[in-house]
Amino acid sequence: MKRRQIDQGTYYRGVPTSPYDLVKEITLALGVLLVVVLVLSAVLSSPDVPPVTIQSWAKSAPLDFLQTATAELQGSTISADYGPPYNIDADGLDPSDTGASVQTWGPLAPQLWAGVHQPINPPETDVIAPLRLASVGRPGLGAALVQYQAAGTVQEQTWLTNYQKALTKATTNGPLVRVPAGAYGPVNVMMQALLADGRAGALDSLLLHSGRFYVTDYTKPLLFLADGGYFPGLAQSQKLTGSQWGMMNETGRYPGQAWLWLYTLWYQIPPYSTAQNADLLVVLTMGLLTTLLLLVPFIPGLRDLPRWLGLHRLVWREHYRLEREARRLGGGGGGSTAR
């Protein structure tokens, strides 16, 4: 294949040159930038709002914690009907439910393509399994679990519905929640035990229990936190939610991922802001725009826009002035290219 590239000697023929010290330039840039970054770090520091724990949730918002845990048992939370990669019909109540919240675009449902990779079954994952581990040495809790699991699905749902209603009339005293007596079988015993374990900090570990010593995957506790109202409420107060341009914000008054401004923009405007499949639409839109950015050199119009706008005349004004001068004096002007 014939080489199309021309050598630099040919390319720069007739172009005036001047001394240039690349190493000095980058050393100076490094030095100046280091001073700037040192000053910014010393004066402004960096954000570090402590993470929310299950313990801080159970202590600060025990009622929200109980309502969320009960909803997990009911299979009525976001994570219960999330679909892949967490589950397909996690609640087990509707055999035809193959992930009600799966986002699609026409016939395309890429969320379903890879299947379930991080299995999450909220009733079992968030409530039953931790309580089973915690029931060792607690016969009352063990008996409640046995009674609950021996009951049929209809009975369980009746208890849970009653309990969820009772929680609206519950009274709180600090981290304690007093639920009026009612027909919810063993549910109150289970939930109060879960709340106690949450307050003690034990539930943070129980949710991560995998039978292995080292753990780095926080999928389970994060999904549980996200199903509640406490965690999103804190994010709202930090202006981090989607409708607050939260994706590009940072806690406190620090710059966040400002480079995500365009990605975040779509979530603020219709049809994205009201679409059920907003995430998929935004990703597809950004994928298209990114492809355009990548292929700018080949796209008529996009590649011509800077020439039409003429900002380069400002950038290289001295170069163009010298070229005009050279032309006026009858010399060459080989320092520019046609396009």
Partner: protein, 210 residues
């Protein structure tokens, strides 16, 4: 009887010899480290790329210190927090100057005269940098990383990528952030710089005369 041993590196079909001749022909040391450039390179627009590389060096240097002491160090140590601040502001500077460099190259039509792949590699550097910064935000182990993770998962899961790229898995995000993505960025930035040195700085567009 055996034949005279042949110096394979000198042979016409030697891969090593071919690579050496390619480098000698297209990227001589005077192109890699030039001490003269076209006069138009004196414009301030060329500073952005150099400062971006300087910011990348500071980002990696501060990141190496943070990685050495582990992901929890900076939450409990004032010195660690200071190095986190250095890392944080270096990243901000890196993006500010990379975006300025990108706009500068767009308005200067830096892809002209056979430099389209240089532009494309630059765009890929920008994209990989965004993903690298994203995994960094997820690796902070604070409220921000929790919130970013639970929100970002929906977009990633919607594409099907969540099955393999689990933003709620700290270990996976941290490993990618401190190892794979930095290596990728350094390689791509190196390739981008070599592309620039290989072809030289593009000439300004010809002035359109009335």
């Amino acid at each position: 009887m055996s034949a005279e041993p042949r110096d394979d590196t000198q042979g016409p079909r030697s891969w090593t010899g071919s690579l050496r001749r390619l480098i000698e022909r297209d990227l001589p040391i005077e192109h890699l480290l030039p001490d003269r450039e076209p006069a138009y390179v004196g414009s301030w627009v060329y500073v952005f790329g150099v400062v971006t590389i300087a910011a990348l060096i500071l980002t990696i240097a501060s990141g190496v210190v943070l990685a050495f002491f582990g992901p929890q160090w900076w939450h409990v140590s004032p010195q660690g927090h200071f190095f986190n601040s250095l890392h944080f502001w270096s990243v901000q500077m890196f993006f500010v100057f990379m975006v300025l460099h990108l706009w500068g190259q767009y308005f200067g039509q830096g892809w002209r005269d056979g430099r389209a792949t240089t532009w494309m590699v630059g765009v890929v550097v920008f994209l990989v940098s965004i993903v690298t910064a994203f995994t960094g935000y997820l690796s902070q182990q604070n409220f921000d990383s929790q919130w970013i993770a639970v929100n970002a998962k929906d977009a990633i899961n919607a594409t099907g990528a969540g099955a393999f790229f689990n933003v709620l898995n700290f270990g996976q995000m941290y490993g990618l952030h401190v190892m794979l993505f930095p290596i990728l960025i350094v390689f791509l930035v190196g390739l981008h710089v070599v592309q620039v040195r290989l072809r030289g700085v593009v000439k300004p567009p010809a002035e359109e005369r009335p």
